[in-house]
């Protein structure tokens, strides 16, 4: 076998082994927590003290600093999950499946937060908790997709099969998400249900945008930190019979 190719591949795939990734993740987690805290504090400060009060919506609009980052993350995490799923199916790496598994609850949480804060915002602004708007409906379906993924994985006892089955589901879902989004959108325009349009947003003040971006970064860092923590737990659980796990100081104590 070509040695140069194999060393290059092993560089790439070196951290695909749970045994090497476990300590690396342990080193990365505090950094991501720190970044999440820094961005979060900055973002919250800007969104609550610096950003001006909205002319039409008053102070109530400030929930978008949670709502929009949560929606972004819910969609982004599904894509990342599908990416790991594809990698796991393609290269048969164990860690990819574990990453997808560890991302799913955070993604579901983000989707739920997005729906919840959207409802809280909708009640004073639109006068209703829920409208069958295209975005709301597709976010709800995204939440269902996350729940389906988690349910499927938890129903299968064999972790390898759970990973692969989940990967197929995630990929089928990711193909379907645009279809679902546009279906719901066209359905909505045909019905002319919601008179409120989210797309016609007025040009946003610079500080508002900055606050939102900082909060999005904070959410992003939080998601990475949490899913790395979760993947470490999954690694320990699945590799508990391996020698390297028994040599870990936290396991021995």
């Amino acid at each position: 076998m070509n040695t140069r190719l194999s060393t290059r591949l092993s560089n790439w795939f070196g951290y695909a082994s749970p045994a090497t990734f476990y300590p690396l993740a342990g080193k990365m987690i505090p950094w991501f927590w720190a970044l999440a805290a820094v961005f979060g504090i900055l973002g919250l400060y800007i969104s609550f003290f610096v950003a001006p009060t909205d002319a039409q919506q008053g102070e109530g609009y400030r929930i978008i600093f949670i709502h929009v980052p949560a929606s972004w993350m819910s969609m982004f995490i599904y894509l990342v999950m599908a990416f790991w799923a594809a990698l796991g199916l393609g290269f048969n790496t164990r860690l990819s499946g574990m990453m997808a598994t560890s991302l799913a609850p955070t993604g579901a949480l983000m989707a739920f937060l997005s729906l919840w804060t959207g409802a809280l915002w909708g009640k004073p602004m639109w006068g209703t908790w829920w409208v069958w708007d295209a975005r709301l409906t597709s976010e709800l379906i995204l939440f269902f997709l996350y729940i389906g993924f988690i349910a499927l994985q938890s129903a299968i006892d064999d972790p390898r099969r759970a990973d692969k089955a989940g990967a197929v589901l995630a990929l089928v879902g990711v193909v379907n998400i645009p279809i679902i989004y546009f279906s719901v959108k066209w359905w909505n325009t045909l019905h002319q249900g919601a008179s409120v349009s989210l797309t016609r947003s007025p040009s946003m003040a610079q500080t508002m945008l900055l606050g939102m971006l900082l909060m999005a970064l904070a959410f992003w860092m939080y998601a990475i930190a949490v899913s790395l923590t979760r993947v470490r737990a999954i690694i320990l659980e699945r590799e508990r019979h391996a020698g390297w796990v028994e040599e870990l100081s936290e396991v021995q104590s």
């Binding site: 349910a151 089955a165 359905w187 045909l190």
Partner: protein
């Protein structure tokens, strides 16, 4: 009456290796039995016998599943009666005003069709998985995707097609006009194959998994949303005087997409389940 397990026409029609080792005179009699020998074995007429094998295998699977269903009619009929009962419950719950019923008819009929298809999904692979036929299919020389396609077609013939044929009778209960009834049938004819194709992926993923029946609904129903929207939308567009062509074209586009990707994803999922 249900046949004993040994009489399930599994290997004979599919030509899996053990069964297929029959003598070559039988091969001429049954066109759908694949040539069991490797390709080098038959160069002349053997090549001819090998050539139609994909289509032959496809029709063999369809015929086999239909035959199995005919021997156990209750499975098919249960789904149909579920459809009828669910649809008939809505007027009881909502009230008998015809204007209202006409308005909700497309949605009710389509949601009921969705649920009925979903309920019948677990019989798609479960029996074959239980008695090992599925593993033989995975091992056979015919690509598993072709066999899966055959099973999905058979599933549609047993669930989607009867629903589509039954729907106009139920639509009459909802006071739909004949034009709308025709659109309803066409939309179901185009849409229910998509339901079977997507459902097959879910059925394959939950094969042999505990709580599979409920789980498959959780996986599959969100993916059914586009079909529901445009299926019911077609009838509604017809009711409101807009043409249903756009909706039906989109449904057909979904069918094309699902027909291409569905069997492939199902095959991957089946191989995972059989590992």
């Amino acid at each position: 009456m249900s046949a004993p397990a040994g009489q399930r026409p599994a290997g004979s029609t599919l030509g899996v290796p053990q069964e297929g080792a029959a003598n070559s005179t039988e091969r001429a009699q049954s066109a759908n039995t694949r040539h069991p020998l490797p390709r080098e074995g038959g160069r002349g007429d053997g090549g001819l016998a090998n050539e139609p094998s994909l289509l032959a295998a496809l029709s063999a699977v369809i015929r086999r599943d239909l035959l199995l269903a005919m021997r156990r009619k209750s499975d098919v009929l249960t789904t149909l009666f579920f459809f009828i009962i669910v649809v008939s419950l809505f007027p009881l719950g909502i009230g008998p005003e015809m204007a209202m019923l006409r308005q909700i008819a497309p949605g009710v009929l389509w949601v009921a069709a969705l649920l009925a298809t979903m309920l019948s999904l677990n019989r798609l692979f479960a029996a074959d998985h239980a008695d090992g036929t599925l593993e033989q299919m995975a091992l056979s020389a015919v690509p598993l995707g072709v066999l899966v396609t055959g099973k999905v077609i058979a599933h549609w013939l047993l669930s989607g097609l009867p629903l589509a044929l039954l729907a106009p009778v139920l639509g009459l209960q909802f006071d739909l006009a004949s034009g709308s009834l025709a659109v309803l049938v066409v939309s179901l004819l185009i849409g229910t194959p998509v339901l079977s194709l997507i459902g097959a992926v879910g059925a394959a993923l939950t094969l042999g998994v505990r709580g599979g029946g409920v789980l498959v609904s959780l996986l599959v129903l969100p993916l059914y949303v586009p079909v529901l929207i445009f299926g019911a939308g077609a009838v509604e567009a017809d009711l409101t005087g807009l043409g249903a062509t756009a909706h039906l074209s989109l449904l057909a586009a979904f069918l094309a997409l699902a027909a291409f990707f569905g069997p492939w994803a199902t095959t991957v999922a089946l191989r995972i389940a059989l590992e």
